[in-house]
């Protein structure tokens, strides 16, 4: 077969990576890089209702951001949500994975059942928990009241101090199985020899977990934390359908705040500015984590 060895044509043969990567590159440039620059451009503009068009406002959106207490509250809510839910999902996920790491009859079925939560649309999960946490007829509220945990007059999702917990519950329910499955795959591929040696030396189960399981699983745990962490920081669906950010600002996440500023309050430039900050925080945190935990693809 003839392949041109000179001129621009030589890059466009199947022996070069270029034609293979061209469609992906074009699509990613058009749909992620171009919108990114468009967003930066938007953040220096604002919609002027009287002129019915975008006007240049310089750094005004960025200086507003610094003084906007609702924005900082939304960062706070997102951070609390991020750390609490991540910790719960990692710890519960590990405990359940250790529990299910066995060849008992029926355990394969149990592992399969756990995967079902992952494919339910998060918006539907939000509605499921909205129904279950309903103060009047919700099955979860009813159970908590019967157990005496919840005051009979307290509605979970409209009490400022409880609302975020109510939303977190949906997240923990849906994504703890994500951790369980990943950790189980890690546990299953652990080498047997170190554990046998430790048993002979009389190590306790906890010592073996602490000194062998955790270090050997470090990479798997890091990947799980990275992927889940990215999604937690940009959480939108649950709060949108369950609380719309309320009561007050108790469940306003940054994503929801940016979205509402843009599409509900027609502050196009300001919403874009907030979404850019979210993007910057995620990229910094993720890259820092990738470096510290030495995650590689």
């Amino acid at each position: 077969m003839m392949t041109p060895t000179q001129g621009p044509g030589r890059w466009l043969t199947w022996d070069r990576p270029l034609p293979w990567l061209l469609p992906l590159t074009v699509v990613l440039l058009l749909f992620t890089v171009y919108p990114l620059f468009y967003n930066i451009w938007l953040s220096f503009h604002e919609y002027a209702p009287l002129k019915r068009q975008l006007v240049w406002v310089g750094g005004k959106n960025w200086s507003t951001l610094l003084e906007d207490t609702r924005f900082w509250q939304s960062i706070g809510v997102t951070m609390v949500y991020f750390f609490v839910v991540l910790a719960l999902e990692v710890v519960l996920g590990m405990l359940i994975a250790l529990l299910l790491d066995s060849d008992e009859p029926g355990f394969g079925f149990l592992r399969g059942t756990l995967t079902l939560t992952l494919v339910v649309p998060p918006a539907v999960v939000g509605m499921m928990f909205l129904l279950m946490e309903d103060p009047e007829f919700g099955v979860l509220s009813y159970a908590l009241k019967s157990l005496g945990i919840l005051d009979s007059s307290t509605p979970i999702l409209s009490t400022p101090s409880l609302a975020l917990t109510g939303v977190m519950l949906a997240d923990v329910w849906q994504w703890t199985p994500f951790m369980v499955l990943i950790f189980l795959a890690g546990l299953r591929s652990l080498p047997a020899e170190p554990f046998e040696a430790a048993m002979l030396d009389g190590a306790s189960a906890f010592q073996m977990f602490r000194r062998l399981t955790l270090p050997l699983m470090a990479k798997v745990i890091a990947v799980a934390i990275l992927i889940r962490g990215i999604d937690l920081f940009r959480m939108f669906d649950y709060v949108y359908v369950m609380t719309s950010g309320g009561p007050g600002t108790a469940t306003y996440t940054v994503s929801l705040y940016a979205w509402q500023q843009t599409f509900s309050f027609i502050k196009w430039g300001y919403g874009a500015t907030i979404s850019l900050v979210t993007l910057i925080i995620i990229l910094i945190m993720a890259n820092l984590f990738i470096r510290l935990a030495k995650v590689r693809w």
């Binding site: 992906l24 990613l28 919108p35 995967t115 992952l118 339910v120 649309p121 009813y142 939108f236």
Partner: protein
């Protein structure tokens, strides 16, 4: 490891209880789908002691199973015929998956087999697009779509769902290509096969399973996606997760209808996910943890 019978008993018992606790909300949601409007609001909540009815499904999918109609007249109005929305969901998930898998498979082959100087940076770039918060994509995309008339169209949603799934599909397919021994490429090229022939005739058949797993995951992520469809569509199309959150009338939420739609939308996803159990963890971790 040898366990005492007592410990073994407790382990099995606790494992079943934990998993049933996770299964309960799904089970409860399915019971709501089969409940009459009155029974949904009963206190104490009815778990199994209710009279099943298909009325919710009949209303949502415009079917008639010939059973007794709901006794409770709907107050507050609302049209809950959602069969077209199910079709919208299928069209969008199908085409976005098809495009994502095609583009990703080609790119993944090159990233796995053709070393070039900036390859690691390229992979890092693909990965970093997976980190972009959807809200930071959807705001500019909304205005771009508005300018080129892609708002409220299948094409617009299909394209953005494809883009959303590309990082996952590329990294996952790359991990499947990485599993194939390099000697196969080398001997085929030595025998005079072109790259394209090698890819088409030897590589693709070897990663069939990987392509299927990737396609299933892309389909599910498109099927369950919420924010893009919520923002980029208005009246001519909507997917199931978005309409599910709109079953609200002036007198309350139509829980039964919503649950019926949600339950029907979950079933295909359940079947799919059980088909790819073996590749699931690899998929969820973008190809980095293998089972």
């Amino acid at each position: 490891m040898v366990q005492s019978p007592v410990r073994r008993f407790w382990r099995i018992l606790i494992a079943w209880m934990v998993v049933m606790l996770f299964f309960f909300p799904l089970f409860y949601w399915f019971t709501v789908a089969f409940k009459d409007a009155r029974e949904i609001f009963d206190i104490p909540p009815r778990i199994v002691n209710f009279t099943p009815t298909l009325a919710n499904f009949e209303e949502v999918f415009g079917l008639d199973f010939g059973g007794q109609k709901s006794q409770v007249a709907r107050t507050g109005g609302g049209n809950f015929y959602m069969a077209p929305r199910l079709l919208d969901s299928i069209i969008i998930a199908l085409f976005s998956t098809l495009l994502a898998v095609m583009i990703a498979t080609m790119a993944a082959y090159a990233l796995s087999r053709m070393p070039f100087r900036t390859r690691h940076h390229y992979v890092a770039w693909v990965l970093s697009t997976r980190m972009m918060p959807p809200v930071a994509v959807v705001i500019p995309i909304f205005f771009i779509y508005k300018n080129i008339n892609l708002l409220d169209t299948y094409t617009g949603v299909i394209l953005i769902h494809m883009v959303m799934n590309l990082p996952l599909a590329v990294l996952l397919m790359k991990s499947f290509f990485d599993d194939i021994p390099r000697e196969i490429d080398e001997s085929a090229l030595l025998d005079g096969a072109s790259r394209w022939l090698l890819f088409r005739r030897i590589m693709l058949p070897m990663v069939k399973g990987g392509i299927a797993a990737t396609a299933v995951l892309c389909f599910i992520f498109s099927w369950t996606e919420f924010l893009f469809v919520l923002t980029l569509t208005q009246t001519s199309l909507k997917t199931v997760p978005v309409v599910s959150s709109t079953f609200v009338t002036s007198t309350g939420t139509a829980w039964g209808n919503m649950a019926a739609l949600g339950a029907a939308a979950m079933l295909p996803a359940f079947v799919f996910i059980l088909l790819v159990q073996k590749q699931l963890v690899r998929g969820l971790t973008l190809g980095s943890v293998k089972q």
